[in-house]
Amino acid sequence: MSIALRNLLKDKTRFALSVSGVALAVMLILLLSGFLSGMNTQITAYLNHAPGSVVVAQAGVRNLLGATSLLPAGTDGDVQARGAAKVVPIFSQFIILDLHEKKQPVYLVGYDPKLGGGPWQLAAGREPRRDNEVVFDRVLAERHGIAIGDIIEILDRDFTVVGLSEGTTSWMTSFIFIRKTAAESLLRAPGATSFLLVTPSDRLTAETLRDRLGRLSGTEVLLKHELMANDLKLFARYFSAPLQLMTGIAFLVGALVVGLVIYTATVERQREYGVLKAIGARNRTLYQVVTIQALIASSVGSVLGVGLTFAAAKLIMELRPQFLITMEPAMVVRAILAGLAMALLAALFPARIVAGLAPAEVFRR
């Protein structure tokens, strides 16, 4: 251990550079995971806060985000008659706003303020009372300098911003809320409903109500958490490939950095390893010295990487509040384990040098 430590710390700058390399690689892995985890929170934010535990959608639609849903007329009455305590209709659709020369996808929710299904927390202002009023996501509003009282063009209509909602943002799309009647008129679909957010009566569990409603024609009935899981699955499909690619590259870079440092340190001390071998040290002992060096460099780098990630995440969320980066203990453990795996991979090359070293060679030099 002491040989490994001395060998590693002999050149402090080199050690610092190797630790930085690992730290940056671990930071990249953690940032990507934290970003994905934050995105998952943002994707399910609306359903998480929406009323009810059962959702009725058009037949074939099993996602809130992603697929457009349009329920057969009169479905809300049928649902009510089958044991629902409360039925909240919403009419929702992705749309693209042109804000300050930028394309901004938003998820437009048309709801009835008396029934619910709108913003769950207002940072300022109030809910829409008229069909030309809108509640805007606070972060999106701040990014574009939009304040209460401002007029925003949505498709071909002007809306006055009357409220700013909290917790309704994401880097991909934010939520905005208007009255359901306004959405019907804006999207040229009078009387249309996309989803029903249903609360079962006291006598029924969510599962029982789902089974009862399952017989309604032209509809798909799901528990709210099933819909949330489907949305997560849908988005995970888009992002998992690029994310795995980035994580793989970061892992290789980290392993290369540690490998280079341990390799250089081993080559420099080749003679000394030869002497150790000549006086009877076994290959296993020398492997241990090399591996411990790699483990120390990667452990320090990993811990630093975790610290750096927390700082970087805070900075990113401060500068770009549409990004949510959440750290879970399991992710941190995985990143540290990745750092250790980098060390083991990195120790392979130097270990081969040590193994191939002839003890007599040192006396010939």
Binding site: D11, T13, L24, L31, P105, L155, E220, M246, V261, T264
Partner: protein, 370 residues
């Protein structure tokens, strides 16, 4: 100077490989993310590019297809048709929905086509017929293979069962594929008998799409008319605007990792040859000359790393279509230029530490031993 830099660099092949490999991977991180977004921009406009339409007419304020909806009164198609310069006007219905086969669910642009459409239908049919009649669907071949259905098989779209009568190609992207059903089925299932989503216009030979689009906006009330090129550009802008911040953050991390790897390798290479640099100094070599050697090493390494990173990304873009990832990587000239500039900055910055080391080197020291 260059010869000395080369020799110093190639003296340890393993170190050189690690250094070039590390830089290549860091640069690949930047290049591949750029390529993913550039590829997505190309994919997202596939339907528009191949629709055969010169102009897209939509609901006022609607300038995109992706992540949006458009509704126009049915009468708009006939109003557009009589605008001077218009050759044909094809009304289509459109929304995003799932193609369901058992447990397999694939997101798709669902297009409702009228009988004998001039524009808007599938552009490359590999099997079956190109246009669906009532109860029939044309779907992307990749989706069909993934879902295990062929011609004559059944898929569920908009909650109804359709028979697959055609398989198209080039109709899939990272996000979704395109499926075609008859406008009659679409309207019935959505209860949208009186509206259409878009009107796809072709112009008469010799007419400019820009002029005709402007004419349509003047002559027909409450519509937005964009040429195919403008409409596609609006789609690409959505991907660009969504990706800008992510790309900036990942580029910064890639830059820092590349910098750390380069700084480390140039530093260790210089450190290993400290005694030789001392000898050069002792026999009269000026600091400027030695700095030049270090800089040359950094630039040679980064140039090799850049080449390798580019080759890696190019290979990845060739391999991706075979990995069933629905990704398309496109390396743009702008991205290459950006990475080349980043590489130059990395090379310059990574030479700072070794240069400081050489500057502080005492020539007499080499004669005293290290």
């Amino acid at each position: 100077m260059l010869r000395l830099a080369f020799r110093n660099l190639f003296q340890s092949k393993v170190r050189l490989m690690v250094s070039i490999g590390g830089v290549a991977l860091a640069l690949m991180l930047i290049l591949s993310l750029d390529a993913i977004f550039a590829g997505s921009q190309n994919q997202v406009t596939a339907y528009i590019d191949h629709s055969g339409a010169d102009i897209f007419v939509a609901q006022p304020g609607v300038r995109n297809m992706h992540m949006t909806a458009s509704a126009l009164p049915m009468s708009v198609a006939s109003e557009v048709k009589v605008v001077p310069g218009v050759e044909s006007a094809t009304p289509i219905l459109y929304l995003t929905n799932m193609i369901v086969v058992g447990d397999e669910r694939n997101l798709a642009y669902v297009i409702g086509l009228p009988p004998r459409p001039v524009a808007g239908g599938p552009w490359r049919i590999v099997e079956g017929k190109p246009l669906p009649s009532v109860g029939e669907a044309v779907i992307d071949r990749g989706v069909a293979v993934k879902s295990g259905v062929g011609l004559g098989g059944e898929v569920e779209i908009l909650g109804e069962v359709f028979t697959v009568v055609g398989l198209s190609e080039g109709t899939t992207t990272l996000l979704n594929s395109v499926a075609f059903i008859s406008k009659q089925d679409f309207a019935r299932l959505r209860g949208e008998a009186r509206t259409v989503s878009f009107v796809l216009v072709t112009v008469r030979p010799g007419e400019s799409p820009e002029t005709v689009a402007a004419r349509i906006e003047t002559n027909v009330n409450d519509v937005t008319a964009l040429t195919r090129a403008d409409f596609a550009e609006q789609e690409r802008k959505v991907v660009r605007d969504m990706g800008n911040d992510i790309i900036a953050i990942m580029n910064l991390v890639g830059f820092l990792i590349g910098l750390a790897v380069m700084a480390l390798t140039v530093y260790t290479a210089t450190l290993a040859r400290r005694a030789e640099y001392g000898v050069l100094k002792a026999i009269g070599a000026r600091n400027g000359h030695l700095y030049g050697v270090v800089m040359a090493q950094a630039f040679i390494s980064i140039a090799l790393g850049f080449g390798l990173g580019f080759a890696f990304t190019e290979l990845l873009s060739l391999a991706v279509p075979y990995l069933n990832l629905s990704l398309a990587l496109a390396i743009s000239g702008d991205s290459l230029l950006k990475v080349a500039l980043v590489s130059l900055v990395i090379a310059g910055a990574s030479a700072i530490l070794p240069i400081r080391q050489i500057a502080g080197l005492d020539p007499a020291r080499v004669f005293r031993g290290r």
